[in-house]
Amino acid sequence: MFRGIALAVAAALCLVVVPVAAQEKSAVRQDFELASNSGKKILVFHPSVRVGSQSTGGIFEPNAEWTDRARTNIQAALEKYQKQLGNAVITAPEAYGEDARNLEEHMQLFGAVSQAVIEYQFFVGNRLPTKKRDNKANIFDWSLGASVADLPGAKDADYALFIYNKDAFGSTGRKVLQILAAVGPGIAVKSGEHQGFAGLVDLRTGNLLWLNADGQMGGDPREVDGSEKRVRQLLEDFPGSNLDKDADK
């Protein structure tokens, strides 16, 4: 009854081969345009960053030091590139009490909405019945609702940027397994997992303006260079972006 059930399920799942994640995908809301150098203020909420390794059997092994380093690097890279795009990045103020609860609700909501976009609009075929028509007509219409205007710091900014990163670097054991599985029975074992998604939300209407999701991101966020590559990839289809797409390929 107490603790453990989730762990057991996770244990059972970790051997299921993760389907080779689909290509990166991004979308911009049809009625949204952002000219480069428009000097918008972008509020960034506590980015979700998790860095660790992948055990031989495929379990995620969190690493606190890597996570801390990646968080700092990503923040710095983000400021650098948004400056290049002509936008200013504002770090969201630390929230307390009611504000913190409201923010947490919206962080969860953003997570749920972007997962729905990724699952039902971007990648697989199981379309939501209510979104079938949108998908055919290439309409990107998702919203968090106007309540985002009350989020802490929202008054001083135009948009909110949510960022999610999860990196699991293949351990030595995993890499050896990968090679032996390839040369032996010829089985493809995936070593490492690098997911990222970023979304831009209009702080007045709550509309999701842009979302970029990638199941196989490049760049090692533990390093300064790598984080810059990562953020460049996350932002490469950002509206008004002049970041060179080919530089990373």
Binding site: M1, F2, R3, G4, I5, L7, A8, A10, A11, A12, C14, L15, R50, G52, S55, T56, G57, G58, I59, E61, P62, N63, A64, E65, T67, A95, A100, R101, L103, E104, E105, M107, Q108, G173, L177, L180, A181, G184, P185, I187
Partner: protein, 400 residues
């Protein structure tokens, strides 16, 4: 022949009596003080739990009633001692199931469904002590490492098995897989047993009555039985261990805890009155959540066992709601009776008048029903459903 029979009987008796023969739980080991995680794995896990606690602290599910929080913390400190309880942050969650858990970084989550089911401070202390035992023994880290070792082994054996794909190899791979998973689940159950032992150990050295630990599981078994009975299911088995069970069976836990409890502690106070008093404000809310789980047998069992120390207006009201929401004609007659009992004890209980009115209207007594509904509106004119209730008053041709 006869000897073999005697041996089987002896072995069986040993198995059955095994847990009951456990010795009284030893007092807890000396406390090491503020513990900090060590090594990449533990520091990494703690960081994950710190992040999740960050979200938890801002969650809408957390009950922030200062008095209730202080009380639960007080029971924890009474059980494990003031030095140990400093390491813990307690979060009471509005979640009507019987559960509590503890993360490696000292985050304790106590579900409201647990608070509803406890009868005394000692029972609550037994659970909180159990959870603290997981923390003190660093079970989270140990289980993580066990899972990693097990799945690593499986990855290698899957590779080897696929190099020689024959029926026998595949079969032995399946055996390895079963034994690895079986071992992991057994490992988890053994951790639970260790935490149980520690939990009773804390209680033994506290001021509270350690025998309460066993009562928790006896009550739970009775509730599960009541639930299955009302669903028409067969009688649950409380001594069987399922392959994938993360915890020992309830029967075993009840027996073991009874044996672990220090007999000298049997005469101690279990704090039942204090517990009832502390929960009084929240009881109707927790009962309401429980009723909405739509588990008639379990809810009725809980209400009746709460009423063992005397029926109160909130208990009669909860029983009325339970019956009215199931909503058979016979239930409505009973519900009306329960609401009336609630009103007899507390005429100002507005929702009881509402429930009574709605039940009476459906059982063919519209005039009495409308009178009750009018009383409801009189007591609670700002009720969120006032407009709808008013419609019910005029529809039947009776105006107010």
């Amino acid at each position: 022949m006869r000897r073999a029979g005697a041996m089987v009987a002896g072995a069986l008796a040993a198995v059955l009596a095994g847990p009951a023969m456990a010795e009284v739980a030893p007092p807890p080991p000396p406390y090491v003080g503020a513990y900090q995680p060590q090594g990449v794995d533990e520091i990494g896990l703690w960081r994950e739990f710190d992040e999740s606690e960050r979200r938890l602290a801002a969650s809408e599910l957390v009950i922030r009633d200062e008095k209730l929080n202080a009380y639960v913390r007080h029971v924890l400190c009474d059980t494990v001692g003031t030095d140990r309880c400093k390491a813990v942050r307690v979060y009471i969650m509005r979640e009507p199931t019987f559960n509590a858990n503890m993360s490696s970084n000292g985050t304790m989550r106590v579900f409201s469904g647990l608070l509803l089911r406890m009868r005394s401070e000692a029972e609550l202390g037994a659970i909180l002590g159990h959870e603290f035992g997981h923390y003190e023994q660093r079970h989270g880290l140990k289980l993580f490492k066990a899972r990693r070792t097990g799945t690593d082994l499986l990855a290698w054996s899957a590779l080897l098995a696929s190099m020689a794909p024959s029926y026998n190899v595949r079969r032995s791979y399946a055996d390895v897989q079963l034994s690895v998973y079986g071992n992991l689940f057994r490992y988890s159950r053994d951790n639970e047993r260790e935490a149980d032992r520690l939990g009773v150990g804390y209680l033994n050295t506290s001021k509270l009555r350690p025998q309460a630990a066993s009562a928790v599981w006896q009550n739970l078994m009775a509730e599960i039985e009541a639930s299955s009975r009302s669903k028409g299911l067969s009688k649950p088995r409380f001594n069987a261990i399922a392959f994938t069970a993360s915890h020992p069976p309830e029967g075993e836990r009840a027996l073991t805890m009874a044996a672990l409890a220090d007999p000298d502690g049997a005469s101690r106070d279990d704090g039942a009155d204090r517990y009832r008093e502390a929960m009084a404000h929240w009881l109707p809310i927790f009962l309401d959540d429980q009723i909405k789980l739509n588990d008639f047998g379990a809810s009725d069992y809980l209400i009746q066992s709460l009423a063992a120390s005397g029926w109160t207006a909130p208990l009669w009201f909860a029983r009325g709601e339970l019956y009215r929401l199931r909503g058979q004609q016979r239930d409505l007659v009973n519900a009306a009776e329960f609401y009336e009992s609630a009103i007899r004890l507390d005429t100002a209980l507005a929702d009881a008048h509402r429930g009574l009115g709605l039940s009476l209207i459906k059982t063919g007594r519209p005039t009495d029903g409308q009178a009750a509904l009018r009383k409801y509106l009189e007591l609670k004119p700002e009720a969120s459903d006032a407009a709808m209730i008013r419609m019910m008053l005029t529809k039947e041709g009776v105006t107010n």
